[in-house]
């Protein structure tokens, strides 16, 4: 019964709740009062020009950067108070955080599986290796893989612990169009089939339109716009998401009160 009640309570919670998040480095404000939520089975895109604060927000959600103020809750649990518990059901992949190149694919997945406390680890490693088409690279050192293959290994690590919340920082940045398409399909599948949610950053507006259920436009550490990536451009008099992105990046003040 407890399990059922726990499951019902969990399904009522948002996967991610960010409330009035601030991060300042001295006088420089990197994130200035950001609030948003991610629902179950939802893919939310964080968009914005370089330096807008996307990676800073992701690092705070991952627990590797302490907010100056604000609250982050994952599955209703406060990360500041219960970091290990919360982070255990979160994971991420980022192009700037490749797995150690001096370990093989299989070794890296085993080590990170232990770090995340994955049960029946050998079976789970086999599953993600198959899921991301890494069978032939199982015993190859990660440093010898192409950047696209390394990205797939990073994504395999990112889903290893069946995370409730998956944070993907430009996950397809170094992939060819065909592989990027496959990866997008896998992430969509992850979001639809499980009961988790995804935060996705990308500078590829086509990809964002295809993948994300909702997007948040960030500029100078604040959310300026929020909405469905398919309808948001028209709501603001633009033809495409890319046009809207350029406008937000160049004239953020125009959208500040939108």
């Amino acid at each position: 019964m407890n399990g059922i009640r726990g499951s019902q309570a969990r399904s009522a919670e948002k996967v991610l709740t960010v409330v009035d998040l601030h991060k300042a480095y001295g006088q420089t404000v990197a994130v200035g009062g950001v609030s948003f939520e991610v629902d179950r089975n939802e893919i939310v895109g964080l968009l914005g020009p370089n330096g807008a604060g996307k990676t800073t927000i992701i690092n705070m959600i991952l627990g590797v950067l302490e907010p100056t103020a604000g609250r982050i809750g994952i599955e209703g649990v406060d990360i500041a108070r219960h970091r290990s518990q919360v982070v255990g059901r979160t994971n991420f992949a980022a192009v700037y955080a490749p797995l150690p190149g001096n370990l093989t694919v299989s070794q890296n997945l085993r080590v990170f599986g232990l770090l995340y406390g994955v049960p029946t680890l050998s079976k789970r490693v086999q599953e993600v290796v198959e899921q991301f088409g890494l069978e032939e690279f199982r015993n190859v050192k990660c440093g010898l893989l192409s950047s696209g293959e390394q990205t797939r290994v990073g994504l395999a690590k990112a889903v290893l612990n069946h995370p409730y919340l998956l944070l993907l920082d430009e996950p397809t940045a170094s992939l060819d169009p065909a592989t990027a398409h496959d990866i997008r399909s896998k992430i969509r599948e992850f979001a639809r089939q499980g009961d988790g949610g995804v935060v996705w950053t990308s500078h590829n507006m086509y990809e964002v339109t295809e993948v994300c259920d909702r997007v948040l436009f960030l500029s100078r550490g604040k959310i300026l716009l929020e909405g469905d990536p398919k309808t948001l451009p028209h709501e603001h008099g633009r033809q495409t998401l890319e046009e809207l992105f350029i406008s937000v990046a160049r004239e953020p003040l125009t959208f500040a009160g939108a």
């Binding site: 480095y25 990676t55 800073t56 690092n59 991952l62 627990g63 590797v64 950067l65 302490e66 970091r83 290990s84 518990q85 982070v87 255990g88 979160t90 994971n91 991420f92 980022a94 700037y96 955080a97 490749p98 797995l99 150690p100 190149g101 001096n102 370990l103 093989t104 070794q107 085993r110 080590v111 990170f112 232990l114 770090l115 995340y116 406390g117 690590k157």
Partner: protein
């Protein structure tokens, strides 16, 4: 503390050692060279010295004990440096791993790697140069324990310094044992030192080990108070080093250094 994350740190280091002679050889080559060099030096001193002192337990034994301390310290720092060299901090600290689990993994890794060096040194020193460990009696075990604890403390302290100052600062860490050695009387009694150096010596646990070692060789006994003082100090330094590492880690979380470690500074 959970066992799985600790096992992950150990397993990672085992994988690295298994596939890399460049990591395995240093576990015992340098200490073996030290044993051979000091073994011959002590033989020569035994021949030319008229005092009748047997230099094997006094000098070769002292080098063995100090090399053990160095191996323990490097066992911790080298496991930590693997994360520095592979730029792995963001990946590893974004997992549920606690700092206590991480440090425990570093210590266990050091126990295994330093044990390899100790066995090689003991085999060489006893079989080739006739060092009789029985000269130290039962005191040999607490001597090793005090040095082990202080080596762990130095290793964790060094790792914290590198976490705070960036990858290039690892060159501050390698010379630490050389800097400590003159104060702790590895080769000579503390009474040889000037007063100000002796004052520093009393704060360093290895001083009690090497003074104790000479007392055991000369008189066959050692005051337990002396050994307890060394052990107590070493345990205190382990606690302080862990606190220092945790403090530096929290600073890195506040400043964003974990996520931007390759920049070495966030200012």
């Amino acid at each position: 503390m959970r066992l799985q994350p600790v096992a992950a740190i150990l397993l990672r280091h085992f994988y690295l050692l298994r596939g890399s002679p460049a990591r395995v050889l240093p576990l015992f080559v340098w200490v073996a060279i030290d044993m051979v060099l000091w073994g011959f030096i002590t033989r020569y001193l035994n021949v030319i010295a008229s005092s009748g002192i047997d230099f094997v337990p006094v000098l070769l034994g002292a080098v063995l004990l100090y090399d053990f301390l160095i191996r323990v310290m490097q066992g911790v720092t080298l496991t930590f440096f693997e994360d520095v060299w592979s730029r792995n901090f963001l990946n590893i600290f974004a997992t549920p791993l606690c700092i206590s689990e991480y440090l425990c993994g570093l210590v266990l890794s050091s126990i295994l790697t330093s044990a390899v060096g100790l066995v090689v040194m003991l085999v060489l020193a006893t079989s080739v140069f006739g060092l009789a460990v029985s000269v130290y009696g039962l005191m040999f075990v607490p001597f090793l324990l005090v040095l082990f604890l202080f080596g762990i403390a130095l290793g964790i302290f060094g790792s914290a310094v590198v976490l705070r100052l960036g990858p290039a600062s690892e060159w501050f860490i390698w010379p630490i044992p050389g800097f400590v050695a003159p104060f702790v009387g590895v080769f000579y009694p503390l009474s040889t030192l000037p007063q100000w150096m002796r004052a520093v010596s009393y704060l360093l646990p290895p001083s009690y080990v090497f003074e104790g070692m000479r007392k055991v060789i000369d008189h066959g006994t050692l005051s337990p108070v002396m050994l307890l003082a060394g052990g107590g100090l070493a345990a205190l330094y382990v606690v302080l080093a862990c606190w220092f590492f945790a403090h530096i880690y929290r600073h890195a979380l506040r400043t964003g250094l974990i996520a931007r470690y390759s920049a070495e500074t966030v200012s």
